[in-house]
């Protein structure tokens, strides 16, 4: 009761503190939600493909930040390799699309529309690509540029009609677009160039055996099974994105610790006489420590609940303002943030409690 009354004795300060804590928690929740959306968007393309094997140029391990150049003849050899059912070419290039008279970078994927391998993982509006003058755009990209199915965009000298929007194709720094491999090769200016081949094996064939056979037939390529290739891409995505996220989250944690510690210390100093009196009256140290811990927990709980309540609206507002920023919240993430906030609360209370050591019962007689 004492802990709560002391907090509410200065209601404005209490509200400002809770707001500060809520903002820090909101930042952490938001970063985690963005991370989850980015990690999904970056690798969903790989995850959702039905390929048993990915064939790339030697030394290329992923499609996010790896450079791989193969050619059409590689496909011919692949299709003749024992155990291979299909080998679908995919060409991935960074391209500039003219949208509403402005240039926008697009991660353009050309794929074989007859097999569908390497195409959009999910169509959320419209339909998939059928002809060379059609394109499917990532939905956040389309939202950002206010493009809808039926609109046209220009890439170099070619006009492409947007026939559909895809989901799971927002890699945060860049978004996917999909067209036929012929059109993308034409945009690149090298008709025979391919980034990688997506291979399916015949029923009953062992992908590991087929992989070895491919590497024998094509010495200059790397062949990955689906799981390894997915792991490579996730690792690549995390190595580029996670450090930034951790740094920002760490700053949020430090700010949160500072806010809590500062307020608790101020409260201890303001209530110094109360604590001295309680000490003189025989208060066990545990009770005094409990008062500080209770205050820290009350503030953190209020801040965390406030952040959790505001998070959906906040995320929606951010996505509305910047459509390329997607968020995906989950119970596990919220629990993780709550655990971190709890740890920060304990740390802040511990730092503040050290102030109690300098309060002596004799001060009650001053």
């Amino acid at each position: 009761m004492y802990a709560l009354r002391i907090l509410t004795r200065q209601p404005v300060r209490c509200v400002l503190t809770v707001a500060g804590i809520a903002l820090c928690v909101l930042l952490m929740l938001f970063l985690l939600a963005v991370y989850r959306a980015v990690s999904t968007g970056s690798v969903e393309y790989v995850r959702s493909s039905n390929a048993d094997l990915w064939v790339l140029q030697r030394s290329a391990t992923n499609i996010l930040r790896g450079s791989s150049m193969l050619s059409t003849p590689h496909g011919i050899v692949l299709r003749q390799t024992e155990g291979v059912a299909t080998a679908s070419p995919v060409l991935l290039i960074l391209s500039v699309a003219m949208c509403r008279e402005a240039g926008a970078t697009l991660f353009l994927a050309g794929y074989d529309v007859s097999t569908g391998m390497g195409g959009p993982p999910k169509i959320v509006a419209g339909r998939g690509v059928e002809n060379d003058d059609e394109i499917v755009l990532d939905r956040s990209f389309a939202a950002k540029w206010n493009i809808a199915p039926g609109d046209a965009i220009r890439i170099q000298d070619d006009s492409l009609t947007v026939v559909g929007l895809s989901g799971g194709t927002n890699a945060f720094v860049v978004q996917y677009g999909f067209s036929t491999i012929r059109r993308v090769q034409r945009i690149l200016g090298h008709p025979g160039l391919v980034t990688c081949y997506l291979v399916t094996v015949k029923p009953g064939a062992d992908p590991a055996v087929v992989r070895n056979a491919i590497m024998e037939d094509l010495p200059g390529v790397e062949v990955f099974d689906r799981r390894t290739f997915l792991a490579n891409n996730i690792q690549e995505m995390e190595s580029g994105f996670l450090p930034i996220l951790y740094a920002i989250a760490a700053i949020g944690g430090v700010v949160l610790t500072s806010i809590l510690t500062l307020l608790l210390t101020v409260i201890i100093l303001e209530s110094r006489r109360d604590f001295a009196v309680m000490r003189a009256l025989g208060a066990p140290d545990g009770i005094l420590r409990r008062v500080i811990c209770s205050q820290a927990l009350m503030l953190s709980a209020a801040g965390t609940i406030t952040a959790a309540l505001f998070f959906p609206s906040f995320a929606a507002a951010v996505e509305w303002l910047t459509p390329e920023v997607s968020t995906q919240a989950s119970f596990v993430q919220t629990s993780a943030v709550t655990a971190v906030v709890f740890a920060i609360t304990v740390l802040s209370a511990w730092i503040a409690i050290r102030r109690l050591r300098g309060i002596y019962p004799l001060e009650a007689f001053a």
């Binding site: 009761m1 109360d274 009196v277 003189a280 009256l281 025989g282 208060a283 066990p284």
Partner: protein
């Protein structure tokens, strides 16, 4: 009437206190022997800086003596661990502060319930105990009030209620009438005296209020950290010399 051989509630044996400040020591109280018995009201009389509060804080175990020893109910405070000393203060020593020192954020009832809580009672039991003490002091109607809403006299009665909430054997009062008018001062004095008699408790009062002399069993005059004189009240003559210190005179 106290008899030689009766066990003292409070016993100081050559207890002194030297304060260290800026590298040099200042004597707050010279070595003093003192025993206070159950049911006895002892007044510490003297001007500011005479050592009254120092003696009181030594008796309450709030500071350790620089020399000698302090015992409550035969238990030497030096031998107690800090938690045991805190427990003893909460359960066996009541303190009435000069400046009330009520906690403004708590109601009267919650203020009084603090000390029982410190002894380990559950909140509900502590509240019950506090309620009964408020009734005993006659201020049950103030239970829900916060300290800033109380008059000076009411505050002091609440402070006394808090001090006696655990029915301690030793009650220490620091200038309990300093902030009160004559009528309220007299009321508080009577409450303290009644408590000493009804609960067989020892009450040690530091004051410079001469009006209290007639309510005391003994008066100890202090000056510059030394006991100058012991005066027994006309109503209660103690059988044995219970305080010795040089220089001192005895009437």
């Amino acid at each position: 009437m106290k008899e030689r051989g009766q066990r003292a509630v409070l016993e100081l044996r050559g207890a002194s206190r030297i304060y260290q400040a800026a590298g040099r020591g200042t004597t707050g109280l010279y070595p003093t022997d003192l025993r206070v018995y159950p049911g006895e009201v002892v007044l510490l009389l003297g001007p500011s800086g005479s050592g009254k509060t120092t003696l009181l804080t030594l008796a309450g175990g709030l500071v350790a003596p620089s020399s000698g020893s302090v015992a409550i109910d035969g238990c030497c405070l030096d031998e107690l661990s800090p938690p045991a000393l805190q427990q003893l203060r909460a359960s066996r020593i009541g303190i009435v502060f000069q400046s009330f020192n009520l906690i403004d954020a708590l109601t009267t009832l919650e203020n009084v319930a603090l000390v029982p809580r410190f002894t380990g009672l559950r909140p509900r039991e502590a509240m019950q105990k506090a309620r009964s003490v408020l009734v005993e002091i006659g201020i049950a109607h103030l239970a829900a009030q916060f300290p800033p809403e109380l008059s000076q006299g009411e505050k002091q009665r609440v402070v006394v209620a808090r001090a006696i909430a655990t029915h301690p054997g030793l009650l220490l009062a620091d200038e309990p009438t300093a902030s009160l008018d004559t009528e309220n001062g007299l009321n508080i004095t009577q409450v303290l005296r009644r408590y000493a008699k009804n609960h067989d408790a020892a009450v040690l009062v530091a004051t410079h209020d001469l009006r209290l002399i007639e309510h005391a069993d003994r008066v100890i005059h202090l000056s510059d950290g030394r006991v100058m004189e012991i005066e027994e009240s006309v109503s209660t003559k103690l059988q044995a010399p219970i305080l010795k210190q040089a220089p001192m005179t005895k009437k």
